[in-house]
Amino acid sequence: MKILNLSSRLVALVLAASLAIPAWTQNAAPTSYAIKGGKVFTLAGATIENGTVLVRDGKIAAVGAGIAIPADAQVIDASGLEVYPGMFDPITQMGLNEVSAVSATLDVSELGDYNPELVAATAVNPASAHIAITRANGITEVIAAPGTTGFDLQSGGLIAGQASAFNLAGWTMDEMQINRSVAMVINWPSIQTRSFDFATFSIKEKPYADVKKEYDKAVNALGDWMDRARHYAQAKEKGSPALYERDLKLEALVPVVQGRLPVLVVADEARDIRNAVDFCTKQNLRMILGGGAEAWKVKELLMEKKIPVVLAPTNRLPEQIDTPYDKPYTEPSELFTAGIPIAFSSFGTSFSRRLPQYAGTAVAYGLPHDEALKAVMLNAAQIFGLADQLGTLEPGKIANVIVTNGDPLELQTQVRYLFIKGQLTSTDNKHRELYEQYRKRPQPAR
């Protein structure tokens, strides 16, 4: 009994050690830093050689050359280094997905097709090992979007819930949160005649007519939800609220139909994108396209409707057999040239740290380098209405700053210093700790 007790404690200890490593350290003091002598890429004007970034109380206080350094500021020597706004991954399952194959660790996809009242921030786990690992690669803030992956074999439904933006450091979600609700996620119902059936492990084919019928039904239902939300809002406005029973789902859709909250519509095929744009136009919704693997086929439409695109990972296979082999690589450049706002995204969790790689690949295939930087640092903030707080090194913004030893999009570049909410934040993480632990393992006896 005693042995059992001891061993179960050991198990608990080991589990605690492996699942909740507090690899990050954020101290209360100092609150003032001077990042001095680096090449400063503000993304809001010219690059400053030998510049200084002053950080105070979590915000950027000043940026420029020859700025006086306050006496209480801790000086970070960035000479020979480069200073950028932190990177922003706008579609992830950060904090909602620890081990993709283990359902107990997933809070991404709820049951049911219409869940507008669900908010990602509710279940973001601030102790997730992914957070420290991701920020060590220079990503300082993310959006967690419910229902954006088929990973846990749940679709996540059509209206999957509200996406939340947060910083990648903090003791609690309250401390990390930037904006609890930045978009309503809609998984556009794709017309697919072929699908993989997990029950039988085989590709199932359905007649087009059947699939189209299902599709029409789903889109009609989406329209009905929007109409009901409008009626609900009108009723609330015009009558006494006490007369109407509170409906959490409709209440959550009110900001959407009133144009205050954008819809993040996840769709890849050209036909689906066209249909989604058509729907959002008719419903007068502010649409952000997520995915857009075939957005290049509907550039004119997206431009005309001023719809920004959060791009599916650049490093992916072409959609069709006869799609040019490099289309996923050239798409960001094509969309940018057409004048469509773009942001890179991982659409994942464990690959969130690949965000700069996705941008780098797009540069290799034609996207201007400075635009690629914006598309991992600034554009997502603009697309999701957070540009007053994030995306550039300008006074008043949240001090999410990375100091690197070179081009942040290049594979070998290291993040030397990391500031999140104005705090110097450790780049230690579970992976580095395991590396340090096992590289010190003595040679086993033979």
């Binding site: 081990v99 296979l317 580095r432």
Partner: protein, 482 residues
Amino acid sequence: MKQATFCAAVLLFAACAPLVTGAQNPGTIFIQNATVLTVTHGNIEHGSILIRDGKIAAVGADLQAPEGAAIIDATGQYVMPGIIDCHSHIAVDGSVNEAGPAVSSMANIADVLNPDDIDIYRDLAGGVTTANILHGSANPIGGQTVVIKLRWGKPASELPFQGALPGIKFALGENPKHSNFPTPPGVTPRYPGTRLGVEEVIRQAFIEAREYKKQWDDYNQRKAAGEQNLIPPRRNVQLDPLVEVMEGKRYVHAHCYRADEILMLIRVANEFGFKVRTFQHVLEGYKIADEIAASGAGGSTFSDWWAYKMEAFDAIPYNAALMADRGVIVSVNSDDAQEARQLNQEAAKSMKNGGLSANDALKLITLNPAIQLGIDARAGSIDVGKDADLAIYNRDPLSVYAVVQKTLIDGQVYFDRQRDIAERATLAAEKQTLLDKEKKAAEAKKDEEKSEKKPETKPDKKKKPSQDGGGAFESGVAGGSR
């Protein structure tokens, strides 16, 4: 009718994509003025490579182009050995898993090679010239495997890398014990369901194989001694490949994750006197790198994949570097048609994570996988006498900004970026013509029959699981590969 369009589109591409003028007769080719990354003897600035009859005939800085040689001017460009992907599932017609029995050694991937798989061309366009085509990981002992060259446009019979030893896939951990996907209702779960059972299945199979081998050895011995009227033992196609493993005629490529299961297989292999050639994925290899090195096995791993399954939760991006530091021959593989076309990027990550030199990073996708597959006398570096399998980039291939310009196999240009771009308009026009013809025929038929209108489905849709994060698990389920 739908089918016809589909075939037309495929045929169009199979016929057009490898339009390689002069590819039928490699003759003499001279690549000049490139930065040559030999991998074995340093980098040569303003270097040249002379290719004769598909082999590298000379490499150096002061070569002259022989008269009549086809010149490839690579000024400002980088030439590296063609990338070797030690873990691939491209070019397979249908499923990669014979997932019925726990020992599926009778199944052979070489029997189902599909030369029309567009992923062959896509990976070729990513600088890959050779791939180890593996059976999936549904079974402790899986099917037979084959090494191919990505000779796009050639029939299936011309894909295998001649002279490369065949392999067999083993698999340990969550996939063979069916942890991550539900057994369909009404179906009895398959044994094994634990790592304990996985070991038992492998040991039992080799006990049988050892007995079977003994029967044949006895028979052959007696026959050689001149004994008459002998009845040969009954052939067993399940055990034949395992006998080949024990005789060193077939490599074991073992899918694995956790340190304990890796040590388990080393013990079982020792017990039956065979060696594991490569541990595949081997994401906890860094925890027992000394033991792996001592066993003589190689480690073929991912750059930075992790957390897609419980057994991948201790995976670290330093794995390749740490195993290499302890003397393991390490490669970085793809297991995925997309990851394959960015293996140069994945290799570069081991410089950042673990501090490998640029040359050692390149080895992860060239010389080391060649050694692991036993083809290093023929491939994996730019050395005289080796096959002229080369990838030409516009800049240092370890940069995220590098783009493959040409890929050569046996001295033939199988991929040329400029030609690919130039052909796109023609291909699009041809496709449109075919579609119009199809549409017209369909309309004519409709008028004739006055039958019900049936809209067309998309004919050439090829939906594959996504690659990022989710894809790992999805593919693990669908293909059972990771």
